[in-house]
Each structure stands twice: as structure tokens, then as C-alpha cells.
Amino acid sequence: MYGLGVLKGFGITIKNMFRPAITVQYPEQRLVIPKRARWAVRQKMDEDGVPKCTACLICVKECPDNVLRVFTSAKDGGGKRIDAYVYEVGACMMCGLCVAACPYDAIEMSHEYELATRHHDNLVRVLLRDVDAAPIPRKPREDAPAPTGGTEATDA
């Protein structure tokens, strides 16, 4: 019948009127973040609390937004020292390519999603400052992506 759908719609909304709200009252209640959700990049530490980063800079090269910068210097007696591992969280799009590319499993996507701040300076984070880079392990981790066989295009 003409107009029956309208009445049905009215019925649905009035039923909703007496159902509890389904919205999550955010600051008081929070949703559980899915396990594989990707938010701000975080450094991983080994069992002793030492960063696993070797300062290989693959993450820096991989990042499409250029939000990662690693400043290194040579250490006396060989090896690298990380002066600063800088992460511009304000420009990061949380694509996770850096984590996927890391051969040493040294960074991860955390579940830190409340990224709004009151000051510009908080948008640039120094994840590591003035620490020794981890020595390169003999074998990269098993599930590291195989190097793609692409070649750079060259001018003829």
C-alpha cells in the first residue's frame, strides 16, 4: 500500500527511541583496539631493554612520507651509534611499511591512537637518543620480505 513504508520507518525509529544508545561514550568508555591495528610507530626492545635497532636505515628509505630520520655516528672501535631516531608522528599515515621492511624486527606499530596534542613540538618524537646501535645479527629474521628483483630505471 502507498505510504506503508513510511509507517514502517516510523515504527523502526520509535523502537530505537526505547533502546539503549549504541554509541561508545568515548572518554569514559573505550573500544578494544583490534590486534593488528596500526598506530604510532614504536621501538622494540630486547629482553634486557636494549633497543634492537641496528641503524640500517631501511625504514627511512622505505617510508613514503619521509617521516623517519635517523642520525648516526661512528663509534670508537667499530659499530654505529644512534644519535637520534626522529619520528614525525604528525605526518605519519600509519601505513606500516617501515615495520614490514625492518629486517631486524626492531620497530612495531603500537596501539597508541590518542595522538592529538596541544603543541607542534609534540608531533615530532625522538624515539631513540644517543644509544649504541645493536650489532647486526648473523641471520635476518625468517619472515623478512625477500628482496625484490627490480632494477632502477637508468637514462639510456
Binding site: G9, T13, N16, T23
Partner: protein, 334 residues
């Protein structure tokens, strides 16, 4: 002296009713729409968000009064008042109780719809004076819509007016006292059900509520004719919208639901305004309910619905009811 004081008091009461009503209705709209959509609505400012609209009013009052450089200054400045004043004037004939009205007009119903028909002119001026394309489209749509829907609105009002034999709201309400057959309240909605349905639809369109909010369709025109307005000028446009909502609900209460009278029992004088307000707010709730349930019409659908369905239905109903009343119910006319 007492005459002047009386006029002043009535004026103040009207302004107070309009403003308080606006604040309450905006809060109510947000809460009702929220719950209809399984949300909560405002809940941050004050307990249950009660102070949200008061804060909004303070914000509107303290905002800078901006006017676009290219706008037509005279039209732009005068338009909000041309929208606001008619809806203010329409409070004059409302009957809140046996002796509670600003003034008794013999043609009160006609006066309400006459002043409300000035609203589209103000809306057109706002749309044209803003000198912006969305505003202009919104103003044009509002004018076309309101002028079209005034016809079924007025025709649907004719039924109760014929039954009461008067255009005086007090007399129309008084004609609805008592019962039919001893148990059916003598409310005009029962014999005039067709006119009532037409009235509800036309009133919804006349106050530019969804599903007929062509003139300010957010997804199409941002806020239509009110686009370029800010501060208290926008506040006037907004307030007029809610005030019109109250007026059409109040008129519907008076015409179809016995005004301030309770069914079956004699209403004590002190309870009359509360009964009237309760019935009016039920009507407003229904309008908000429709607003939260129905998607927006397309412009051509809306106008086709008015000219091809509502106007013929209401015209036929007027003829049918006039015939019925002439032939079988000579006693109805007093």
C-alpha cells in the same frame, strides 16, 4: 496607564515564551533525534547536556556580526527580522486557556496563516541579499515550497473552521467541549481525519522540517538561505524556524485536539495552559519523529506531491465535508 501596562506585559510574555521555547525546543530536537538514532545527544555541558543550548545562545549573541562584502546590505540586514517578526506575531491569537490569550481575534486562524505567509518573502530576501549561489537556490526553493504548501494548509484548516462555524480560536476550542455518544471526545480530529493528515504534512513542509527541508538541505546547500549569516542574525533565522514549529503544533492542537481541554472532564482553569503545552509538545515530538525517520524528498517530487496529491485531496475533502455538514449535521454550526 493600566492599558499600556497590560500591552507591555503581554508583549513581554510573548517574547519570553518565544525565547524560552526556542531554547527548550533546540535541546529537545537534539535529544529526540539522538535517541531516535540510537545516540544520546548532547551530554557534556551541564547535567544531561541541559546547558548546551544556553551556551549556544551566548555564543550566538557574542559572535561578530559579519556581512559578506558583495551582499546587498539592506536586504541582508532586514531579512532575518522579516522572517522573525511574522512568527512572533503569530503568537497573538493562540489560546492557552479559557481566558489566557494575548488577545481574542474573531479571525485568529486567518491572522496566523496570513502573517506566516510573510515568512517566504523574508527567506527570499535572505537568499537574494546574500549574493551567493547556494543561498539563492535555498531562498528560491523555500519560496516555491512555502507558497505551494500554504494552499493545502489553508484548505485543511477549513474543515474544523466549518465544524466550529468560526475562525476565532477560542470559539473553535469551545466547540470541542464534551463528547460524542457519551464516550468519544468531541475533538475535530475524528471526523476531520483527512484534513488532519493533510495539515500535518503541509505543516511539516511549511516549517521546512525534514523530509521537506529543501531550502536548507545540508548535503546539497549547506544551510541554504542562512549560509552567509552568523551571530544573532543567524540566531533569529534559527529561532523563527523553531517558533514556527511551535505555532503550527499549537494551531493543530487548537483545531483538531480540543486546545486546552482535557477529554471527558471539565478542565480546571489553572491546568489549561499545561494541558495545552503538553498537547503542543506531543505534536512537536511527532514532527521531530518524522524528521528523524524520513529521508529528504527531491524538489520536483516535493512539488509534485503538493500539487498533484495534497491540493486535490484537501479540495475534495472540503467539498465532501461541506456537503455532509449541510445535509446531515445542521446542528454543528453554532
Amino acid at each position: 496607564m493600566t492599558f499600556a501596562v497590560g500591552i507591555l506585559l503581554r508583549f513581554v510574555a510573548m517574547v519570553a515564551l518565544l525565547l524560552v521555547n526556542g531554547v527548550v525546543l533546540i535541546y529537545m530536537l537534539r535529544k529526540v533525534l539522538g535517541h531516535l538514532h540510537l545516540r544520546i545527544g548532547p551530554n557534556r555541558v551541564g547535567p544531561f547536556g541541559l546547558l548546551q543550548t544556553t551556551n549556544d545562545v551566548i555564543k550566538l549573541l557574542t559572535k561578530e556580526d559579519l556581512r559578506p562584502e558583495a551582499a546587498d546590505a539592506w536586504l541582508f540586514n532586514i531579512a532575518p527580522f522579516l522572517v522573525f517578526v511574522p512568527s512572533f506575531m503569530a503568537y497573538i491569537p493562540l489560546v492557552f486557556g479559557p481566558d489566557l490569550a494575548v488577545t481574542n481575534l474573531d479571525t485568529g486562524i486567518l491572522v496566523v496563516f496570513a502573517v506566516l505567509s510573510l515568512v517566504p518573502i523574508g527567506v527570499m530576501m535572505a537568499g537574494w541579499g546574500s549574493n551567493a549561489k547556494w543561498s539563492l537556490i535555498g531562498g528560491m526553493r523555500a519560496a516555491g515550497q512555502q507558497i505551494a504548501y500554504e494552499i493545502p494548509l489553508l484548505l485543511s484548516v477549513l474543515g474544523p473552521v466549518m465544524m466550529a462555524g468560526s475562525m476565532d480560536p477560542a470559539k473553535i476550542v469551545a466547540a470541542q467541549a464534551g463528547t460524542w455518544f457519551g464516550f468519544i471526545p468531541r475533538w475535530f480530529v475524528i471526523p476531520q481525519i483527512v484534513a488532519f493528515v493533510v495539515y500535518v504534512i503541509a505543516a511539516q513542509a511549511e516549517t521546512q522540517q525534514t523530509p521537506f527541508d529543501m531550502s536548507e538541505a545540508e548535503s546539497e546547500l549547506i544551510t541554504g538561505f542562512a549560509n552567509e549569516y552568523g551571530g544573532m542574525r543567524f540566531g533569529f533565522l534559527y529561532l523563527a524556524e523553531f517558533s514556527n514549529m511551535f505555532i503550527v503544533a499549537a494551531i493543530g492542537t487548537m483545531l483538531f485536539f480540543g486546545g486546552w481541554q482535557l477529554p471527558w472532564i471539565t478542565t480546571p482553569g489553572w491546568a489549561a495552559p499545561f494541558v495545552f503545552m503538553f498537547k503542543t509538545y506531543v505534536g512537536i515530538f511527532t514532527m521531530m519523529w518524522a524528521r528523524g525517520s524520513l529521508p529528504r524528498f527531491r524538489v520536483d517530487q516535493m512539488l509534485a506531491f503538493c500539487w498533484k496529491r495534497l491540493i486535490p485531496i484537501s479540495l475534495v475533502w472540503v467539498v465532501v465535508w461541506a456537503t455532509i455538514q449541510r445535509l446531515t449535521l445542521p446542528g454543528v454550526v453554532r
